[in-house]
Symmetry: C2
Subunit: 370 residues, 2 copies
């Protein structure tokens, strides 16, 4: 990869969807739910293979920096960028773009969520190299579109327009429209129309993103401009107390917006977004049911981390690193064992784990969620 190319890992996840494993102080990206490595460790290793550690940036909320530094010990200390508070992805990616332009005015950035699953790493790298090549050539935004496996209603979809480029491994299309989390019927229609899953992996010149923020999101752009002035050429990853205060002040003013809504949809409508169609085996790690889907299973459809025994157990997910779990005649269930709390749930209701965390907090059981 050219040395003006940077990877930016967005690690802002909260600890609700994977309770009881995830807690407020141990968010999703730190969990070892797919392997013996945490999600962010897996993401970082995939990304190091693109541009190396020096070219990798992690953006996260300030109070998670210490934990992430411990998790990614071999990433340079000044490659962690702290947000003063969570404001969704648009301010976060804007801040990263600002820092990258400071490091290299011609920076191309690959934006990646910290908590995704990728089956084929080599295909993943080939796709991103192709995307970087495209981004170098023009000022368009590139989003990686995934050929869908099934009509998932929890994802966003990309409707393709005409083909604009064909690389050896991937084809790029103009984006016609984005569709957020569709109904099942709509998801099925989108698949019939060859729409793609929106992976949330983006590639563009950092300067292009800043220009588009200035155009579509003047409040965010103005905040970033103030931060840039206060930094006066110094790194945002190692801010003085004064600079930190400026970042906090400007963040407070910024709207809570996703990059999809803040920039992608608007730029897409103006024909400025391409999607590179890929098929490297991808999934958002969004629920225990998703973990079950992407984990190797036995002949009865059971997936596990930890020691377990089943009698008539089918289609279950067991996460119990410490204790023996025995399932008797249980089907389509998730069992998650932690030192102080235990979840037994219907797999197809695992989206509601978030509601459980709310219920625990309401009922004075927040010691089990922090």
């Amino acid at each position: 990869m050219p040395n003006n190319c940077f990877s930016v890992i967005i690690a802002g996840g909260k600890g609700t969807r994977f309770w009881p494993l995830s807690r407020a102080g141990r968010p999703k990206q730190l969990l070892k739910i797919l392997s013996r490595k945490s999600l962010i460790e897996e993401t970082a290793e995939r990304v190091y293979a693109l541009g190396g550690r020096a070219q990798t940036l992690v953006v996260t909320i300030a109070d998670q920096v210490a934990a992430l530094r411990r998790e990614l010990r071999d990433l340079p200390k000044n490659n962690f960028l702290a947000e003063p508070q969570g404001k969704n992805t648009a301010p976060c990616i804007g801040l990263a773009a600002l820092e990258l332009v400071r490091r290299n005015p011609a920076a191309v950035m690959i934006v990646l969520p910290a908590d995704h699953w990728v089956r084929d790493r080599a295909a993943f790298r080939r796709t991103l190299k192709a995307a970087v090549g495209l981004a170098m050539q023009n000022d368009q935004l590139i989003t990686i579109g995934i050929r869908p496996d099934y009509p998932e209603t929890g994802y966003g979809y990309i409707m393709k327009d005409k083909t604009v480029a064909h690389k050896s491994t991937s084809t790029a299309f103009l984006v016609k429209r984005f569709t957020e989390k569709p109904t099942l019927a709509v998801a099925r229609r989108l698949i019939r129309q060859h729409s793609l899953w929106n992976s949330g992996i983006f590639v563009w010149k950092a300067s292009t993103l800043l220009q588009l923020l200035a155009r579509y999101q003047p409040v965010i752009a103005a905040g970033l401009e103030s931060i840039k002035r206060a930094a006066a050429g110094k790194s945002l990853a190692d801010p003085s107390p004064k600079l930190r205060a400026v970042i906090a002040r400007e963040y407070k003013k910024m709207p809570n917006l996703s990059i999809d809504y803040a920039v992608m949809e608007k730029a897409g409508a103006e024909g400025k977004v391409l999607t590179l169609e890929a098929d490297f085996g991808w999934s958002d790690v969004g629920s225990w049911a998703a973990v079950h889907r992407m984990t190797p299973k036995d002949a009865d459809g059971n997936a596990s981390q930890g020691r377990w025994l089943g009698l008539g157990a089918k289609n279950c997910l067991i996460h119990a690193p410490e204790r023996l779990v025995v399932l008797l005649g249980v089907e389509n269930a998730v069992v998650v064992d932690t030192p102080d709390a235990l979840l037994v749930g219907a797999l197809d209701r695992s989206q509601e784990v978030r509601d459980l965390v709310d219920a625990l907090n309401r009922q004075g059981l927040s010691s089990y969620t922090i």
Copy 2:
């Protein structure tokens, strides 16, 4: 109660049906599954109200004596009778009868399993007093028959013959026939025919039982005779090493027989068994499903010991004294949490817990069963 009346609690249960709570070294009767008291503690307290502690004997396997003495601290030390090995109930009850006849030649014994549930203690006492009254008057065997609530296939049934006595609270019938664990269809027919559940609670003169053993089970009777000679009037509850060796030697020769098969069925065929019909709310505590049936439940049919939270949980049994359990959309399940192992099972398959224990032992996981 007259002071020649003794209660004999049979505490020979193993640690299989209530795994993971029960273990080989922590058998069923020591479990606190119905309340904060262990099953044997509840049984003992019910029984103390009949004839007092001095008149209560506990018979168990030698290696469980220490644990039972710890559990029943206020029972005199020499009221624990140790069997050298488990040989089902016939040798066990024979040994107890031998000791009681030694203590009082006119002894009447009430035999009770250690692990039953009784709803109405006052009715239970009234029934047993009536049974003792009957047993004093004649040389018949009396078994307490329970009016069935539903066609349970795990119990034995008693077909009644003609009425022989009517007490204020109970009616006694001659026993026509015993039926062991019937099919569901047979259980339904038995209920239509007003048959009773066989509670396994028996009342008779100790001398009568010994006579009938001599008649139907000469090997057991001969063994008991040798033990009696070796004891030479000394207590079997505090045997010398020599006496202990004789008991062990004789036990080895005895057949492994239940009192039902060894004596009751044969005596019943000769018109020597009465059943006293009772309705004090009784259940064998035979499986997690049985525990669920007899435990108070919330509006959704959930019964629990320990702290738990449910979202859409129905008809579940939760036993988790140490940790928080959260159930999401789970129905008809049992969740049992112990420090090293966790069971999640379909309630209606809880009879198979025994098979799970076998499977654990076969798979080299016996550290979880001992």
